[in-house]
Symmetry: C2
Subunit: 246 residues, 2 copies
């Protein structure tokens, strides 16, 4: 049984303001919950509509009706389980290896995909401008499939942090160096810009190497790569040198 | 003014069956419609809620109420314009350059992204298994942002077509060749598999070179790359040799 007040509290976690206040977030569905349970995230409570064995102490599990779960859920199709986890404290950004910086990424799906990509490519730190969508947004959590637990994500004044970083700052622009022809690429920060406006003028002024992913298709077309696609290409290209490749 | 019957007919285009029957599909929102108007697609009719200049003959434009447009729309947030276009006839697949083959891709967002990627990387032909989501699905159309008009997409018996193709067939698997270390890569077909099950056994038997995108992060984790991300990395890696790179 859950009370109306408990449902209300969980529903409030759909909003960034209350996630910040309570330092809690929600995750839904067996796969995502299982991934997070095996991670460094600490479970607050688990709500299930039927008997399910997550290996969680019984006092942390509450059986609820499908109707009640639907009220708590942030998804269109409500799964049969929802968990509340504690947010992790951000660690200091370590600039000794590649870092990804996000300048106002607004779409939760894009952020989720970028977090997964960083996890895949062994990038441990992401720094986000304050306007970037919250990584504990339910849609981001669902899209990361657990990788959010393996990447340190910091929200801060991006310009200020980048100004103090003593490493090369790379950003994607039209008319930069062809990424496939770049020489002497040393680890630094890869800045990815907003979906509609790209990298802001303030951040652009700090970029030390402008890079371009060349288009291979019809040059007349204006449509650009989606930011998550661009991130995957940049990370793949900058990481491939680990192998003894030509 | 639109009649109830006209609305019903347009709404029927949300379903593959009726798109196939009428050889029509819908596109919504200014940006996507503009892109398609400038492409090889032929407009059937345009519906707008307010005065908008698309440069379309007036007999092909109908002013409708926001309520009526909402009834026609396949989107959660209805834009202020919706267009009906004629489907394009598929051309024969040309195997002289890279071709992407999709073995049961089910998610419209993934297909849309893969079409955009092919457009970006100058891949002109995509061959899809009959079970792959329809490229005229409204969600695919919205996700492709017009690039669907620049890539020839054929639905067919994939195994049969690949059997007759006289080019190398590449597919991503665990334990294949490291994509970053591959030598003598000749243009052929890149097969990408279903989101949950990967490449089917029938198609796997035809693959001539199994490739793997190595993970750079924590090897203990099971989560794999999303199929659209994997496609972007494979295309970038196979296309980069166009440049005089080391």
């Amino acid at each position: 049984m859950v009370t109306k007040n408990q449902i209300k509290r969980i529903k409030s976690l759909h909003q960034k303001k209350y996630r910040k206040e309570h330092q809690l977030f929600i995750a839904e569905g067996i796969k995502v919950i299982q991934e997070l349970l095996q991670s460094s995230f600490v479970l607050d409570h688990l709500y299930v509509t039927n008997e399910m064995d997550f290996g969680v102490p019984t006092h942390q599990v509450t059986r609820v009706s499908a109707d009640d779960l639907k009220k708590m859920s942030a998804l269109t199709t409500t799964p049969n389980c929802l968990a509340v986890f504690h947010c992790l404290e951000s660690k200091t950004i370590d600039f000794s290896d590649w870092v990804v910086a996000l300048d106002d990424i607004r779409d939760p799906g894009n952020l989720g995909t970028i977090i997964r990509l960083c996890d895949w490519f062994g990038i441990s730190h992401i720094v986000c401008s304050s306007e970037t969508v919250d990584c504990y947004n339910p849609k981001v959590i669902q899209a990361t499939m657990g990788s959010v637990s393996r990447v340190n994500i910091v929200y801060t004044d991006l310009a200020e942090l980048l100004q103090s970083a003593k490493v090369p700052l790379y950003g994607t622009f039209l008319g930069g160096e062809n990424i496939y022809e770049m020489k002497e690429v040393k680890p630094g920060v890869i800045v990815m810009g907003n979906e509609a406006n790209g990298i802001s003028a303030e951040i652009e002024a700090l970029i030390s190497r402008k890079i371009t992913i060349p288009r291979f298709g019809n040059l007349q077309q204006t449509e650009s790569l989606n930011v998550a696609m661009a991130t995957s290409i940049v990370l793949s290209e900058f990481r491939r040198s680990v192998f003894n490749v030509q």
